[in-house]
C-alpha cells in the first residue's frame, strides 16, 4: 500500500508512538522518587516494510514494548548485601548496649575485685579492727552485687531479644504473603505476555525488605514466577503460595524459629533475625559463661583461703574460717547471678594463721587470690581485663564490618541508580524529543491533508479546506 493514505497512516503511527513515549516519560517523572522504581523506556521498531518489486517501503513506527531497566544480578547482590548489613546492624546495636557495663575501669567488677583485695591489705596492719574487717565484707558485697547486676542485665537483654525474634518473624510472614500475592499477579500478566514492570518493582522492593530480616534467596521459575527460600533451603514462597514461619519457646526459654516442625533458628545466616539470634544464642551466653567462670573461680579461691586461717574469736578456742562467699553452683553455671556474701559477721574473716586474734598471717593467703589462676589459668584481674578486651574488640569489629558493608551497599545502590534511577534531565530531553516528533508528525498530517485537498479538488483551492 502506498500513496497519500499510506503517508497519512505512517504519520498517524508516529503520532501514536510519540504519545506513548511521552506517557512513559511522564510516568518516569511521576515515579522519580518512588523507592524501588525502575525507569521505563518505550522500545520502538520500524513497521514491517511493504515490498513492491524492487522497492521496500516503510510503514511507520511500532511500539514494541515498554521495558523496565534493571539488572537482575545487581538486585541479587543488593539483597545479599542488605542481609549482611541488617544482620551486622542488629548485632552492633546489641553489642553497643552490652559493652556499656564494661565501660568503666574505676567501677564495676574489675574495680570491685581490686577494692576487695585492697581492703584485705588495709586489714593486715590491724587485723582485729572490726571497722577494717567490715570494709572487707562491704567490698565483697559490692563485688557480688556487680556480678549479679551484670548477669541480670545480660539476661534481660537476652529476653528482650526474644521479643525481637517474634516481631521479625511476624514481619517475615507479612512480607512473604505480600510477595506471594504479587507473584500471582505477575504470573497471570506474564502468561499473557504483558509487561509486569511496576509489579516486578513492587516485588523486588518487598524482597529487599525481606532481606533486611532474613537470608532470602530468589529463584526464578520462568514465566515471571519466583520461589523464595532461606539460604538453607526452607521454602518461604513457592508457586504463588507463602509458607509462614512460626516461633516456639525452646528448652532454654528462648524463642525458636520454626518452619513447620523444623527448627531453623541456628541455620539463619542473614538479616536482622540472624543477627539477633547470633547475639542471643552466642555472644550473650559466651559473656555470661565467662562471668560465671570468674565468679565461681573467685568465690572458691577466696573461700579456700579463708578456710586456711582462723576467725577472730577472742574468747573461744581457735576456729577455722568458713565460706566468705556462698558456694558457687556445681560447674559454675549461674555463678555470677547467684554470687552472694555468705557471712554478715566481720569476725568470721579468717585473718589469723596461728589462732591468735592479732595474727594477720592468713590475710596473705586471702590476698594471694589476686595472683592465683582462678579462671582459665588467669588471675581475676587478667581474666576480667581480657573479657573487657574481648567485648570491646567484638564491638569494634562489628562496627567496622557495618561500615564496610554499608559502603558496599551504598556502592551497589549507586550502581542500581545508574541503571534504574530516573534522571529528570534525561526525561526532559526525551520529552522535548517526543514533543518535536509529535509536532513533526502532526505537521506531516496537515501537509497530507492539504495535498489530499489538492487531489480531491483537482487543483481548485477553495472547495475543500
Amino acid at each position: 500500500m502506498s500513496g497519500l493514505f499510506g503517508s497519512l497512516s505512517i504519520a498517524l503511527s508516529g503520532l501514536a508512538v510519540s504519545q506513548q513515549e511521552l506517557e512513559t516519560s511522564s510516568n518516569n517523572v511521576a515515579n522519580a522518587s518512588t523507592p524501588g522504581y525502575s525507569r521505563e523506556t518505550a522500545v520502538t521498531d520500524p513497521g514491517a516494510p511493504v515490498v513492491y518489486g524492487p522497492l521496500t517501503i516503510g510503514t511507520g513506527v511500532v511500539l514494541e514494548k515498554i521495558e523496565s531497566l534493571r539488572d537482575p544480578i545487581l538486585e541479587i547482590q543488593l539483597n545479599q548485601e542488605t542481609q549482611q548489613q541488617s544482620s551486622l546492624n542488629a548485632q552492633l546495636e546489641q553489642l553497643q548496649q552490652m559493652q556499656t557495663q564494661f565501660s568503666s575501669a574505676t567501677t564495676g567488677i574489675g574495680a570491685d575485685m581490686s577494692n576487695f583485695f585492697n581492703s584485705l591489705q588495709q586489714l593486715s596492719p590491724d587485723p582485729t579492727n572490726l571497722a577494717l574487717r567490715q570494709s572487707v565484707l562491704t567490698a565483697a558485697g559490692n563485688l557480688a552485687t556487680d556480678f549479679n547486676n551484670a548477669a541480670s542485665s545480660l539476661q534481660t537483654q537476652s529476653s528482650n531479644l526474644n521479643l525481637n525474634v517474634v516481631q521479625d518473624v511476624g514481619q517475615v510472614n507479612t512480607l512473604t504473603a505480600q510477595i506471594a500475592s504479587v507473584d500471582q499477579q505477575i504470573a497471570s500478566l506474564e502468561n499473557a505476555n504483558e509487561d509486569a514492570g511496576s509489579l516486578v518493582d513492587q516485588q523486588t522492593n518487598l524482597i529487599r525488605q525481606l532481606s533486611g530480616l532474613v537470608d532470602v534467596q530468589v529463584v526464578q521459575t520462568g514465566k515471571g514466577g519466583i520461589e523464595l527460600t532461606t539460604s538453607n533451603g526452607t521454602a518461604l514462597v513457592s508457586g504463588g503460595q507463602s509458607f509462614a514461619l512460626t516461633t516456639q519457646v525452646g528448652g532454654n526459654g528462648a524463642q525458636q524459629v520454626m518452619a513447620g516442625a523444623q527448627n531453623i533458628t541456628s541455620s539463619l545466616t542473614g538479616g536482622s533475625l540472624a543477627g539477633t539470634i547470633e547475639i542471643r544464642d552466642q555472644e550473650i551466653p559466651g559473656i555470661l559463661n565467662q562471668l560465671d567462670q570468674l565468679a565461681a573461680g573467685f568465690s572458691s579461691a577466696v573461700n579456700a583461703a579463708n578456710a586456711h586461717g582462723y576467725i577472730l574469736n577472742d574468747n573461744g578456742p581457735p576456729t577455722l574460717g568458713g565460706n566468705i562467699f556462698t558456694t558457687p553452683p556445681a560447674g559454675g553455671v549461674g555463678a555470677a547471678a547467684a554470687m552472694q556474701v555468705a557471712i554478715t559477721n566481720p569476725s568470721l574473716i579468717a585473718a589469723s594463721s596461728d589462732g591468735t586474734p592479732g595474727s594477720n598471717g592468713n590475710l596473705a593467703n586471702l590476698s594471694a587470690v589476686a595472683n592465683e589462676a582462678v579462671a582459665n589459668g588467669e588471675t581475676p584481674i587478667d581474666f576480667y581485663s581480657n573479657l573487657v578486651f574481648q567485648v570491646g574488640s567484638t564491638t569494634s569489629n562489628a562496627s567496622a564490618d557495618v561500615d564496610a558493608s554499608g559502603q558496599i551497599l551504598q556502592q551497589l545502590q549507586d550502581q542500581r541508580g545508574s541503571i534504574s534511577g530516573v534522571s529528570l534531565d534525561e526525561e526532559a530531553a526525551n520529552i522535548v524529543q517526543y514533543q518535536t516528533a509529535y509536532q513533526a508528525s502532526a505537521r506531516v498530517v496537515t501537509i497530507i491533508d492539504a495535498m489530499l485537498a489538492d487531489a480531491v479538488n483537482l487543483g481548485v483551492e477553495a472547495a475543500v479546506q
Binding site: Q99, S103, A105, P125, T128, A364, D382, G392, T395
Partner: protein
C-alpha cells in the same frame, strides 16, 4: 557511563558520618577521655582495668605505710624510753656496787630500781591503737605481767609470732618483734638482769656482776631494737617509691585514655566544617534540572 541521578542517599550518608565524628569529638572533650567504651580502643580498655588495679593497690600500700609507720615509730620511741630507763638502772647499780652506802641508801636504790622495773613492764605493755606492740601476735592483752615467783619478776603472755604487711607488689616487711626477742630474750633478758640486780643489792652480793649482766642485756636490746629503725627507713623509701609510681600510673592512664584536647577540638571543628559542606551540597542539589529551562 550513566551516572546515578539521585546522589541524595550518598550525601545523607556523608552528612551522617560527619555528624557521628562531631559527636565522638564532643564526647571526648566533655568526658576528657578518649576511651569511653571498650570498643573505642579494646586494648586500652583492658589495660585501664589493670591500671586501675595498680592505682588501687598503690593507694592501699601508701595507706598501709602511714599506718605501720605510726606503729613502728611508737614501738621505736618506746624502746628508747626503755633504753634510758635501763641506763638509769645501770647507773644506780654502779652506785650500789660501791659498797660504802648506808643500808638506807641501799634500800632507796632498790626502791628506785623497783620503780624502774615496773616502768619497763609498763613500757613493754605499750599499745598502739588498741594493739599491744610487743606480744607477738597476741595483741589484745598486755604481754607482760609482774610475777614475783618468776626469777625475772615477770611472765610473758605473748607468743613468738611476727605479722607481715605488704607494702608493695611482692614486698612484705615484718611490722613487729615479739617481746620475747626484745625484753625477755633467752640469755639476754633485761627483766631477768634487772631483777637479779635488785636481788644482788638486797643481798649485797654480786652487785658488780649483776650490773655487768644488765649492761649486756641493755646492749642486746639496743641491737635488737635496730629492727624498728630499719623498718622505718624501709617505709620511708617505699613511700617515696610508691609516690613516684603513683605519678607513673596516672601518666599511663592518661596515655591510655586521655584526650589531646587540641586534637579533639580540631577534629570537632573539622567535622563541623565537613558537615556544613555536606549540607551545602544537599541544599544545592536538584535546585536545577533541565525542566527549568523548557519553555
Amino acid at each position: 557511563m550513566r551516572v546515578n541521578p539521585n546522589p541524595m542517599p550518598d550525601l545523607l550518608a556523608a552528612l551522617n558520618q560527619t555528624q557521628l565524628q562531631a559527636q565522638e569529638a564532643e564526647l571526648e572533650i566533655s568526658t576528657g577521655k578518649s576511651v569511653n567504651e571498650p570498643s573505642d580502643n579494646p586494648i586500652a580498655a583492658a589495660l585501664l582495668i589493670e591500671n586501675n588495679d595498680q592505682a588501687t593497690f598503690n593507694t592501699g600500700y601508701l595507706q598501709n605505710l602511714t599506718t605501720i609507720n605510726g606503729q613502728l615509730s611508737s614501738a621505736d620511741s618506746t624502746l628508747s624510753s626503755v633504753q634510758s630507763a635501763l641506763q638509769q638502772a645501770i647507773s644506780l647499780g654502779v652506785e650500789g656496787a660501791n659498797g660504802t652506802l648506808s643500808a638506807d641508801d641501799q634500800a632507796a636504790i632498790v626502791a628506785q630500781l623497783q620503780d624502774i622495773q615496773s616502768q619497763i613492764i609498763s613500757l613493754a605493755n605499750t599499745s598502739y591503737q588498741g594493739n599491744y606492740l610487743f606480744g607477738g601476735t597476741v595483741t589484745a592483752t598486755p604481754p607482760y605481767v609482774a610475777d614475783g615467783s618468776d626469777p625475772s619478776g615477770v611472765i610473758y603472755l605473748g607468743n613468738e609470732d611476727v605479722n607481715q604487711v605488704s607494702i608493695g607488689s611482692g614486698y612484705k616487711i615484718d611490722i613487729n618483734q615479739p617481746g620475747s626477742q626484745l625484753f625477755s630474750a633467752n640469755g639476754n633478758s633485761v627483766f631477768l638482769a634487772l631483777n637479779n640486780l635488785i636481788l644482788a643489792l638486797q643481798s649485797n652480793s654480786g652487785v658488780g656482776t649483776a650490773v655487768g649482766a644488765l649492761t649486756a642485756a641493755a646492749n642486746y636490746l639496743s641491737v635488737q631494737g635496730v629492727f624498728y629503725g630499719n623498718a622505718m627507713s624501709q617505709v620511708q623509701s617505699q613511700t617515696t617509691y610508691l609516690n613516684a609510681a603513683k605519678l607513673q600510673i596516672a601518666q599511663q592512664q592518661n596515655t591510655l585514655a586521655g584526650v589531646d584536647l587540641a586534637t579533639a577540638a580540631n577534629n570537632l571543628s573539622q567535622s563541623q566544617t565537613d558537615s556544613q559542606a555536606a549540607m551545602e551540597a544537599i541544599s544545592k542539589l536538584s535546585q536545577n534540572n533541565l525542566f527549568d529551562y523548557l519553555t
